[in-house]
Amino acid sequence: MAPSTHWVYTIGNWRTLPSAMSRFPIPEHGVGWCLLCPLLSCADLVDGKRASRKPSPEAEATRDKPRSPSNRKKRTQESRREGKEGGSREIKASTPQRKNNVRRKQREVFGEEEWSKAEKPWNGKRKRDRKASHREQEEAKSKEKHIQRKKEKQLKKHSSSPSVPNSSDEESIAEEEMARIMEQVEEKKQVIATIRNKPWPMVKKLEVLREAQAFVEKFEGALGKGKGKKFYAYKMMMNKKWIKFKRDFNNFKTQCIPWEMKIKEIESHFGSSVASYFIFLRWMYGVNLVLFGLIFGLVIIPEVLMGMPYGSIPRKTIPRAEEEKAMDFSVLWDFEGYIKYSALFYGYYNNQRTIGWLKYRLPMAYFMVGVSVFGYSLMVVIRSMASNAQESTGEGNGDNFTFSFKMFTSWDYLIGNPETADNKYASITTSFKESIVDEQESNKEENIHLTRFLRVLANFLIICCLCGSGYLIYFVVKRSQEFSKMQNVSWYERNEVEIVMSLLGMFCPPLFETIAALENYHPRIGLKWQLGRIFALFLGNLYTFLLALMDDVHLKLANEEAIKNITHWTLFNYYNASMWNESVTRPPLHPADVPRGSCWETTVGIEFVRLTVSDILVTFITILLGDFLRACFVRFMNYCWCWDLEAGFPSYSEFDISGNVLGLIFNQGMIWMGSFYAPGLVGINVLRLLTSMYFQCWAVMSSNVPHERVFKASKSNNFYMGLLLLVLFLSLLPVAYTIMTLPPSFDCGPFSGKNRMYDVIQETIENDFPTFVSKIFGYIANPGLIIPAILLMALAIYYLNSVSKGLARANTQLRKKIQALREAEKTSKSIKANAAVKSLQDTFANNFKNMSQLQTTEEGNKSKSDHQNHPKKKEEGDTKNISSGRGMMLPASLCLAVTKPPGPRSGVAPPGKTQSQLQPPRSSPGRGKGNPGQ
């Protein structure tokens, strides 16, 4: 029998109740007298606001809303939510099999209930429902017919019940109702727009969607009579079309993202951290594509199309001495010969102010493009940093959830590879153990002196390494300058700088890692140090290289004056001689024979291009040898080897995310530095990134296992971006320095003949703009104006900074306040609940033993589960309302529950009231859900 099992269950549950409640002190007053009150006053007390709410018909209408869905939903109970709603509100539906289901459903519902709090329609409905449910019946009776109809319309608007509105309704559309229907239609549309955010099963969503769409369609046409109707319909149609177009466009857009599938495949095998590298690579590719478009579109193509052709002037011709070897591969490979005298390098460009019939100002364009390459890069990097930062605003205060984060968010659901999963298990376990140990021994430090000594030692060793590598590079660059003066040098001697730099980049990071083992840092901190050190190494190498290069440049600049004289005299002698000998005009001196300067800009450009190319080669060869061959070896030799190669020593290589990202960042730094003197460099880089994308994707999928020490994707993104910004800034410095301080070569490049490169701007302003512009420019460039402007900016930064600090402080204070309030609320509520239960037990235990026990525990259980489920939502007011309502209501319902069984007692309250209040305890959703199944 269902009832008997039901009782047993509740009694059993009641025993567990005190343990849950005993945590809170139970005051004896406050509720007890409520029990003695007549029911009417008690009910009024319970619902303090009732009186004020009742007269308003609107409030009643809204309060009445939940009824209708429950009635309708009785029929359709496949969907869980519906089942729940029906179950919680239904009054008579306590058939045995229902009861059995109820409990399971209610369990699921707990989660959903709180979820629904966040959603407006459900939220409001529920809240009111809780308070008003016991009055439903009475109200329903007293309603007149037309009011009923009106309400029903409103019901439809709010409820998501699967019914199509009555046709009788639409016939009687009055003017005043039009607005309401319009509103309803808008609301339905809102429902359609937000339906995907609802955690319902698809069946339910489909139903709701269809119903809403049918409603919208039905009433949309009916809206607006006469003139307005057509327009309205037209508007709606266009709106629909627009939505469809937007959706198609979005689909198209996602299709257009390159390598999306490839990256997703990697993501599903290796987790999001490896994919983050490829996303970064793709982003970099996009940026470089833009730079490439800028440089090729505005500099190289105009030069090729409209500039003077190859061989017309000395700077565009190969010197006589190099002519015969200019096409040899070995020469071309070093970017000498024909490549050196091509539009890919600075030296090829002429200093004509305008070229072609377009009067294209090439030197100006060259300069502006050089500036805008940096400008665009800065903008893009900072913008993406800002958007990343916005995405992870919660990051700042996430420190106090270390364990929970590990628990709830550490699994990467993208992992689809069992090996990766095993790795992940292991790493999660270690991180759990680590954090437990951290927690236990956070304040215990063993032998601090030894650790300190080791750390100092490690840092000392690493600084030695860094200095050594710096010196090595300086030495090698110096030596290469000597080599370059010699005639026949071997391949190694020509490429010594690049080889040494690549080798350093290859072997130093592992060395650092070995040394870092001394330090005994936490792995996360250790990784940061490691990254910082590799960064310092790369940076040091790059800057040493630059310094050595600068020495070279200065040397060349010193020689330039002499060469300039020689050139001048050669030309002078040549033409003078021809003038003297015959009156026949001699053909002009062949451009290949004109002596010319060394053109330091092109030299610098060539250095960067070579560095980039050798870097590409080293990267690719490392992948091929270190990853692919190793994987092949491990895979195939494993059959005939003494130990397990796959699990043992060589095993498969990991995908080194941080190393790869750093490599990419430094490569980009070189591109930025070199692109001013070698416009073609960006093109090379675009090719590199493209091949790298495919090659590395292949290599990862074929021969890598994921990194054990995982860098979480979203966290590291901004770290990478920060490094990129730093590198951008650092690569901006040398370029800006050379542009501002060094004189350009006299016989090559777009700025030849000028004192400084930036003179081209002044020239353009003076010649091509009206005079007042140059005047304004002169004023603006005045230091008297610039210094105040900078000061102003600094002040603005200071001001904004302090404002944001203040806001942050206010934020944390508010949060604390909310927390405190919430906790206080919680305690008081549970105290009341406890008190109610306790006093009930005391008072009625003797009289109505069985019944009262049963009911109280039921109520107690419910209150307990309520209390557990009570959501801490942002809207404080809401929480307050609910909690006060419920906290007070409980005793009332308890009164009812216990007063019901013995007949005579019911005389205390007016019959109507009792009627209305006797039913709900079992049916109202707030408390009714503890209805135990068996």
Binding site: R80, R107, E108, V109, F110, E114, W115, K117, I195, R196, N197, P199, P201, M202, L206, L209, R210, K244, R247, N251, T254, Q255, E267, S268, S272, G394, G398, N400, F401, F403, S404, F405, M407, F408, T409, W411, Y413, L414, I415, G416, A421, D422, Y425, A426, T429, S435, E439, Q440, K712, A713, S714, K715, Q819, E823, K826, H867, Q868, N869, P871, K872
Partner: protein
């Protein structure tokens, strides 16, 4: 056969796009993947929308194979009375929630339901224990000891159980999750 399997009606596609976070291509792909799990004779559109695929078969998908929560995921998304099979619409729901575009709120809601092993609406100590066991894998060497487990669960409750009732409820859970920078990027399954 090839053409008949992959053509959902236009209206249905539009509705699915309306109801999920998936794009048209993704829905079609999901349908294809789902159809592949069906027996040969029921691979037409009508059947594929009606027929349910048992959990065991769903779990053979490589995307779910390595996931320690695979059974839970199937259970949570299943609308079958016994919670042991998925229809195509459940399947779409699953991948919609795990897609890139899904909002953190809906993701965390389903994460909570996945972690709630006994389906009682809160994460109690038993749930947390099972969760830890799932995360550390089946292997003996990676399992945590009893004392470690106790310590861990205590720490977690210390952090997340704001109302101190010994369990973590949905709003507490969402409160924690919303602070996590990594959750949305890792709570993702891509077909």
């Amino acid at each position: 056969m090839g053409s008949s399997t992959s053509h959902l009606s236009k209206e249905l596609l539009t509705e699915y796009q309306e109801l999920t976070f998936l794009t048209k291509q993704e829905i079609l792909l999901a349908h294809k993947r789902f159809s592949d799990l069906l027996p040969q004779e029921s691979r037409n559109v009508e059947d594929s929308l009606r027929v349910r695929v048992s959990t065991e078969q769903i779990l053979t998908l490589p995307e779910l194979k390595a996931n320690p929560f695979r059974e839970r995921i199937c259970r949570v998304f299943s609308t079958a009375p016994e919670r042991d099979s998925l229809s195509f619409e459940d399947f779409l729901d699953l991948f919609s929630v795990f897609s890139d575009a899904a909002t953190p709120e809906i993701k965390s809601h389903y994460a909570f339901r996945i972690f709630d092993f006994d389906d009682d609406g809160t994460l109690n100590k038993e749930d947390l224990k099972q969760l830890v066991n799932c995360l550390t894998g089946e292997g003996q060497d990676t399992q945590l000891s009893t004392s470690e487990m106790k310590q861990l669960i205590e720490n977690i409750l210390e952090e997340s159980d704001i109302d101190r009732d010994g369990t973590i409820n949905l709003s507490e859970f969402q409160h924690v999750i919303s602070r996590s920078p990594d959750f949305t990027s890792s709570f993702k399954i891509v077909l």
